[in-house]
């Protein structure tokens, strides 16, 4: 996939937008991994 080559301000917006959705998703995944490890330790 070719990388984006938009103007600098668009890159800041892209970073913000991905962080906006990425941070909550990372939290959800972290909680998921914590729970999933119970399969091997529980």
């Amino acid at each position: 996939m070719s990388s984006n080559s938009g103007p600098a301000d668009r890159r800041a917006l892209i970073a913000f937008a991905w962080l906006w959705v990425g941070v909550p998703l990372a939290y959800g995944l972290y909680e998921l991994v914590r729970k999933a490890t119970q399969l091997f330790t529980g």
Partner: protein, 450 residues
Amino acid sequence: MSPPVAPPGWSRWLVPPAALSVHLSIGQAYAWSVFKPPLESALGLSGTQSALPFQLGIVMLGLSAAFGGTLVERNGPRWAMTVALICFSSGFLLSALGAATEQYWLIVLGYGFVGGIGLGIGYISPVSTLIKWFPDRPGMATGIAIMGFGGGALIASPWSAQMLESFGSDSSGIAVAFLVHGLSYAVFMTLGVLLIRVPRADQGARGGVESAATAAGARSAPTDPQVSANQAIRTPQFWCLWVVLCMNVTAGIGILEKAAPMITDFFANTSTTVSASAAAGFVALLSAANMAGRIGWSSTSDLIGRKNIYRVYLGVGALMYGLIALAGDSSKPLFILCALVILSFYGGGFATIPAYLKDLFGTYQVGAIHGRLLTAWSTAGVLGPLIVNWIADRQEEAGKDGSSLYTLSLFIMIGLLAVGFVANELVRPVHPRHHLPVPAQKEKEVADVE
């Protein structure tokens, strides 16, 4: 509201986060179970009653996606995302009022009916726009969004539980939790409403730096066959895909819905029994496989083709079910591995279907066609659990236990997947008599940029 057209230089990489902000929000629906025990104790409800808002929400999801799809195509993704935001958030606000006043019908009406419309419109809102921005990778693009629907429950489940712990599990605590959910999701989904843009007809799909005649644009050339939603449902291809999706989802949901008791029962008569917390870990691992399948397999379909990837989902899926049935309780790792593969195919099946529809019917009303196809999901949502639960109950009554409780269900799932496999084999390019006439296509493209 006219569709928001991207200005020159707009990047297509702003579209997936816009879609994700909606799908990560509405995916909360699958975390409804967090509210069930507090509602039951605070309002004196039965388990069946406390499931009503979720069940009505899923019914409304199917209905609004099926019947609202054409409106979504006509008014564009920003209109659809705005409707989804208003319905989903006000559903929570009505539920907050219902909890505060202890009027349960308001929670059913708010979360189930009003919120459910938000689920359906929100689910299909970004599909057609993503495909238009990523004509070279439609599977990956829709995979990202539909992965978000799975991710929404992962976020909401611990978040809602934490909130109920902080505010309390009585009716006023639940009301505050609903209120915070409604306001937070409204803010979160606003990003999608503000960012979503449709590409200009003369704009390259790779960040606006290439012309429409280059690689990405060339695949969706104006002369590509386009089929309207009303015409699509008159084609055998639509109904073949309906059967494919329904069978694939039925097979996955059968395991997903009963995962914890299934793994516990399966190894109950062995030396390696499964504890309740280990079973919860197994369920979480299945959710991870479901999500990974959505983005992973859907992206793979861009490389190997849609028909081939469904051959894998349905053929290898049947093989995995066969392995579980034949191995019985002899190997726990094999059981877990097969279940993970099946769940990844379940997620992949959901995420790849919009790109399959685009291949067959073009981009013209792909969102609306997708909405109508989602009735297969509603059907599978009833079929899968019904088969597994009904058979397990009958087997138990017949005095069976352990893995043999599920053997018949597993073979039925193999049969369903075989039906789906045959339906996929029957899919052929759509006959030209169903295509839009070329002048109508051009008219539609002009309307897109106005």
